[in-house]
C-alpha cells in the first residue's frame, strides 16, 4: 500500500508553474517594451498621424489600449503551440528525429473530439437547454477521447512505421514520417467524407464558451475600449497549463519519467540497466500523441472550423517553437511555444498599423520564421539547448 502513497513531490508540481509564469511574464514584458518603444518612435511619423486621423488618439495610446487583449490572445495561442511542441520535442529527445506526422496526430485528436461533440449535439445532450455542468463534462470527455485515440494512433504509428527503422540512417525515418503524414491526412479525409462526402467539421455551439468576460474598459483617447476575454481562452489556458504541469511531473518525478530520460540520454546503456527501451519509446509516443490530441481539440475550440489539413500549420509552428527553445528540451518547448504565440499575435495586431497597412497580417508568419532564423544564427542550439560538444 505504501508503494502507492508516495509523497507528492511538491517542488516538481510548482516548478513548471513557476517557469510558465516567468516565461509568460518575461516574454510578454520584453515584447511589450519593444512594441511600446516602437510606438513612441513612430508616434510622430506618418503612421502616428494616420491613426490620429482615424481614431483621434496617438499611436502610443492606441498601442497601450490594445496591449492587454493582444497579450491574452498571444498567451492562448502560445500554450496551444507549447502543448504540440512538447510532443515533437519528446519524440526528438528519445529518437532524434523529426516526427513529421505529429501534426496529423493533432488533427486526429481534433476530429475525434469534434465528432463526439457533434454526435452529442445530434442526440440532444448538449446545445440549447443543456445544463452548463454537463456541457463541461462532455467537453472534458470529448477531450479525453481525443487524447486516447490520438495517443493510440501515435503508438500504432511508431510500431508500424518507425520501429523497423530504429537503426537506419536518420533521413530514412524522416521520409517514413512524411509518408505517415500523407497517409493519415488522406485517411482522415476519406473517413470524414464517408457519411456525406464533406470533410470539414464545425465545432458545435454549446455551453458558454463563446461568452466573453468583461474586465472593464480601457480608456483610449476620448473613447473607451472594452477589455474582455472569451471563456474559451480561459479553458485553453487552464487545460494547457494542467497538461504541462502533469507532463512535467510525469517526466521529472516518476519512475516512468526517469526511464524516459534515461532512454533519451543513452539508449544502449538504458537497456543494459533493465529498461525496456521499446516499451518506453511507445510510452513516449503515447504521451506526445495524447498531448497533441488534446491540443487539437483546444485548437478546434478556439478556431471552430477544422479540416484534415488543419494540423499542418500549427504543427509547423510548434516544431519551429520546439527548435526555437532548443529541441529535445521540455522547458525549451514551453518557452518556444509561448514566445512564438505572443510574437505571432503581436505581429498580427500591430504590424499593419506600424507599417500603415503595407505589411498586413500575413506577415506574422514571416516574422515568426525570421526570428527563428535570427535566434538560431546567434544560438545555433536554440534558446535553452545545451551546447553539445562533439566527441571525436
Amino acid at each position: 500500500m505504501k508503494k502507492y502513497l508516495k509523497p507528492i513531490n511538491l517542488m516538481e508540481l510548482l516548478r513548471p508553474l513557476g517557469q510558465l509564469i516567468v516565461f509568460s511574464l518575461g516574454s510578454a514584458a520584453v515584447l511589450s517594451i519593444i512594441v511600446l518603444a516602437l510606438a513612441i518612435v513612430l508616434n510622430n511619423t506618418a503612421a502616428g498621424d494616420k491613426i490620429f486621423a482615424q481614431l483621434k488618439v496617438s499611436l502610443f495610446a492606441y498601442t497601450v489600449a490594445n496591449l492587454p487583449q493582444v497579450l491574452v490572445d498571444g498567451l492562448t495561442l502560445g500554450f496551444v503551440y507549447a502543448a504540440i511542441a512538447l510532443g515533437y520535442t519528446m519524440v526528438y529527445g528519445v529518437l532524434e528525429f523529426i516526427n513529421f506526422a505529429h501534426s496529423e496526430i493533432f488533427a486526429i485528436g481534433a476530429f475525434v473530439g469534434v465528432e463526439i461533440l457533434i454526435a452529442l449535439q445530434n442526440a440532444g445532450l448538449i446545445g440549447s437547454g443543456s445544463s452548463l455542468f454537463m456541457d463541461y463534462v462532455f467537453l472534458i470527455l470529448a477531450m479525453l477521447a481525443g487524447m486516447a485515440v490520438a495517443g493510440g494512433a501515435a503508438i500504432a504509428m511508431e510500431r508500424i512505421a518507425y520501429r523497423p527503422l530504429r537503426n537506419a540512417p536518420r533521413l530514412v525515418p524522416l521520409i517514413s514520417a512524411i509518408g505517415v503524414s500523407f497517409f493519415l491526412q488522406d485517411a482522415i479525409r476519406l473517413t470524414e467524407s464517408l457519411t456525406t462526402g464533406q470533410f470539414n467539421r464545425i465545432f458545435p455551439t454549446f455551453g458558454n464558451f463563446d461568452k466573453r468576460i468583461t474586465f472593464g474598459k480601457i480608456p483610449m483617447g476620448a473613447a473607451e475600449l472594452p477589455f474582455s476575454v472569451p471563456i474559451k481562452s480561459f479553458i485553453v489556458i487552464i487545460a494547457a497549463v494542467l497538461m504541462l504541469v502533469v507532463l512535467n511531473y510525469l517526466v521529472n518525478a516518476t519512475k516512468v519519467g526517469k526511464a524516459i530520460r534515461a532512454v533519451a540520454q543513452d539508449r544502449a546503456t538504458a537497456s543494459l540497466m533493465g529498461i525496456d527501451v521499446n516499451h518506453i519509446i511507445a510510452i513516449t509516443f503515447l504521451i506526445g500523441g495524447a498531448l497533441g490530441g488534446a491540443a487539437g481539440l483546444l485548437y478546434a475550440l478556439k478556431f471552430t472550423r477544422i479540416d484534415p489539413y488543419v494540423g499542418f500549420y500549427p504543427g509547423l509552428k510548434a516544431f519551429t517553437a520546439a527548435v526555437l527553445g532548443g529541441i529535445g528540451n521540455l522547458t525549451g518547448a514551453l518557452l518556444g511555444g509561448i514566445i512564438l504565440g505572443l510574437l505571432e499575435t503581436f505581429a498580427g495586431s500591430y504590424l499593419s498599423i506600424f507599417t500603415m497597412g503595407a505589411a498586413g497580417v500575413e506577415y506574422k508568419d514571416i516574422f515568426a520564421f525570421a526570428i527563428l532564423i535570427l535566434v538560431l544564427i546567434f544560438r545555433p542550439n536554440g534558446l535553452l539547448g545545451e551546447n553539445v560538444t562533439e566527441k571525436v
Binding site: 537503426n167 540512417p169 536518420r170 464517408l194 505589411a359
Partner: protein, 527 residues
C-alpha cells in the same frame, strides 16, 4: 500451432478491419479500374464473367493472399512447415472473410430493403453494392465473397511458406547464377567495354530520347516534362543532400526564385519588361545561386535538423512574400503571373510541350554532366568526407564552410534552372506552385531514388511524379497510396530504387539482428 492460429486470427482481424474501411470508401472498385489497365484485354476475355467483377475479385484476392501470408508467417524456427503456414493463413483468411462477407451481406440486405445507404455513406451507391455482391443476390454474393477470401487466405499461407522455403531460395540462386554468368562473362564484358560499343549505345539512347517526344501525345509530353523538371530539381538537391549531407527543406525557395525571375522579366504584367527568354534563363540561374550563397553564409554553421528547419523557414518566407499584399504590385500577388515569355529558336517559337521536353532533356544532360564531373573531383571527395564526418573532414584541412556553400550554390542553380523552365512551360507561376510540398516531394525523389545516385534520381522522379500522373483514376486516393508506399519503401528498401553501390552496402552490412552495430551508427550520426 496454437500460437500460429492466434497470430492468424489477429492478423485476420487487422486485415478485415482495413478491408471494411476500404470497402466503405469503395476502394475495391477504384483498384479494379487500375487492374483493368494493367491486365491486357485478351486475358480478361478468357474468363466468362463481367470484367468489372473480375478486377474487383483480383484485388480482394490479392489482399486475401497477403493476409494469409502474413497470418502464416514464420513465428519460430522449429515449427515452420507447410501445415502451420496453411493453418495460420486459413485462420487469417477466415476472420478476414467473415468480416468482408458480413459487411457485404449487411450492405446487400439494406439495399434489398430499399434503404438509401448513400445518404449515410456517400460512396456506397446501389450500383457499387451490386458490384460488391458480384452481380448475384444478397445471400449468394456474400457467401461467394466469404469463400473467395477464405480460400485466398489459405492459399496465401501456403504461398508464403513456398516463397520463404528452400524451393524458392534455390530458384533465386539459379537465377542469380544465370544473370552473373551473363554479366560476368569476359567476352561480353570486353565487347561492351570497347569505346565503339559505348558510343553506339549512347547514340542509341540519345536517338531514343529524341524520338520519344515525337510519338508521345500532348498529355504524355506534358507528363514527361513535369517528371523531367523533377529530375532536374532532384539532381540539384542530390548534390546538397546526397553528396554534401546537408538536409535542406527549403529547396523550393530557389525554384521559386528561378520561376519568378523569368516570370517578372518576360511577362507583360506586372512590369511589361518583355525580355527574351534566353536572356532571362542565365539571370534566373545566377540569381538562384546567389540566393543559395546568401542564405548559406549565415545558416551553414548549423548542423542536422536545425539546418533543416531554418531552410524550411526560408522557403516559407519566400512563398509568403510572393503572396503578400506589399509585393503584389511587384510579384503579382496571390494570383501569380500569367503569359510568361517562351523560348524562340531561330526566330520561330519553340514552346510546345514537345519542344519543351527537348529543352528539359538538355537541362538534365547538363545537370548530369556537372554532377558526374563534380563527384569525381576534389570538391566531390571533400563533400563526401564532410558528409561522413564533418569534424574529421575539417581536421584533414577541408574548408567545410566554402565547400558547403558551393554545394548549396550549385544545388540552388539547378533548382533555379528548373524554376525557369517550369514557369515558362506553364506560362504561369504563382505562390501555390512554390509551397513546402515541392521541397518535400523533391526530397522524397532523392531518397526514394537512392541518395547520391544519378540513375536513382531519375527513377525516383518517375516513381513519384510519373506514377501519380498515370494513376489518374485514383486521384482521390493518390496521397493515401503515396504515403503508404513511402513508409513501405523505407522499411523494405531504405537504400532507394537504384542506390549507389556503397550506400546499399552501408545499409545492409549491419546485421539487423544485432542491435549493437546499429546503435553505434546512430550515435555517430548525432549532431
Amino acid at each position: 500451432m496454437n500460437k500460429q492460429i492466434a497470430n492468424g486470427l489477429r492478423v485476420g482481424l487487422t486485415f478485415g478491419i482495413v478491408n471494411i474501411f476500404l470497402f466503405l470508401i469503395k476502394f475495391p472498385v477504384i483498384a479494379g479500374t487500375i487492374i483493368k489497365k494493367i491486365i491486357p484485354n485478351f486475358i480478361v476475355a478468357l474468363f466468362p464473367i463481367n470484367p468489372d467483377i473480375l478486377d474487383i475479385l483480383i484485388f480482394i484476392g490479392l489482399i486475401g493472399i497477403w493476409a494469409g501470408a502474413s497470418g502464416g508467417r514464420k513465428l519460430d524456427e522449429k515449427s515452420d512447415n507447410w501445415l502451420t503456414s496453411f493453418v495460420g493463413g486459413a485462420a487469417a483468411g477466415l476472420v478476414n472473410a467473415l468480416l468482408i462477407g458480413a459487411l457485404v451481406f449487411i450492405l446487400g440486405s439494406l439495399t434489398d430493403a430499399h434503404v438509401k445507404i448513400n445518404a449515410y455513406l456517400a460512396a456506397i451507391l446501389p450500383a457499387v453494392v451490386k458490384l460488391f455482391l458480384l452481380d448475384q443476390n444478397t445471400l449468394n454474393g456474400s457467401l461467394t465473397q466469404f469463400v473467395f477470401s477464405f480460400v485466398a487466405g489459405a492459399l496465401g499461407g501456403v504461398l508464403g511458406f513456398a516463397f520463404r522455403g528452400q524451393w524458392f531460395a534455390s530458384l533465386k540462386n539459379k537465377w542469380n547464377a544465370a544473370w552473373a554468368s551473363l554479366t560476368e562473362n569476359p567476352q561480353i564484358k570486353k565487347t561492351f567495354a570497347r569505346p565503339i560499343a559505348r558510343i553506339a549505345l549512347s547514340a542509341l539512347g540519345i536517338a531514343f530520347l529524341l524520338f520519344i517526344p515525337q510519338i508521345a501525345g500532348k498529355y504524355w509530353n506534358y507528363t514527361i516534362g513535369t517528371v523531367g523538371i523533377y529530375v532536374l530539381l532532384g539532381l540539384g538537391l542530390n548534390i546538397v543532400v546526397g553528396f554534401a549531407g546537408l538536409l535542406d527543406l527549403g529547396y523550393v525557395a530557389f525554384f521559386a526564385i528561378g520561376a519568378y525571375t523569368v516570370a517578372l522579366l518576360t511577362a507583360p504584367n506586372p512590369h511589361h519588361l518583355m525580355w527574351n527568354f534566353w536572356t532571362t534563363l542565365p539571370i534566373g540561374v545566377v540569381l538562384a545561386a546567389a540566393a543559395g550563397i546568401l542564405l548559406g553564409i549565415p545558416v551553414l554553421r548549423m548542423r542536422g535538423d536545425y539546418l533543416a528547419i531554418v531552410t524550411l523557414g526560408f522557403g516559407e518566407i519566400i512563398r509568403i512574400l510572393a503572396t503578400s499584399d506589399l509585393l503584389t504590385s511587384f510579384t503579382g500577388g496571390p494570383r501569380g503571373v500569367t503569359a510568361i515569355g517562351q523560348p524562340t529558336l531561330f526566330g520561330k517559337p519553340f514552346s510546345s510541350d514537345t519542344d519543351f521536353v527537348y529543352i528539359i532533356f538538355i537541362g538534365i544532360a547538363i545537370a548530369i554532366f556537372i554532377t558526374i564531373q563534380l563527384r569525381s573531383s576534389r570538391i566531390g571527395r571533400a563533400w563526401e568526407a564532410m558528409r561522413e564526418d564533418e569534424t574529421v573532414a575539417q581536421a584533414m584541412g577541408i574548408n567545410t564552410l566554402s565547400h558547403k556553400l558551393m554545394a548549396f550554390a550549385i544545388g540552388a542553380a539547378l533548382a533555379g534552372l528548373g524554376g525557369v523552365l517550369f514557369a515558362s512551360r506553364n506560362q504561369f507561376t504563382g505562390p501555390e506552385d512554390h509551397n513546402l510540398m515541392v521541397s518535400i516531394n523533391v526530397l522524397s525523389v532523392v531518397i526514394v531514388g537512392g541518395m547520391g545516385s544519378i540513375p536513382g534520381v531519375i527513377a525516383g522522379a518517375f516513381a513519384l511524379k510519373g506514377l501519380p500522373e498515370i494513376l489518374r483514376e485514383v486521384q482521390d486516393y493518390r496521397i493515401l497510396i503515396f504515403g503508404a508506399l513511402l513508409v513501405a519503401m523505407m522499411i523494405w528498401r531504405p537504400e532507394g530504387l537504384w542506390p549507389t553501390a556503397r550506400r546499399s552496402m552501408e545499409l545492409h552490412s549491419a546485421d539487423p539482428e544485432d542491435p549493437e552495430s546499429g546503435e553505434a551508427k546512430t550515435s555517430e550520426d548525432k549532431p
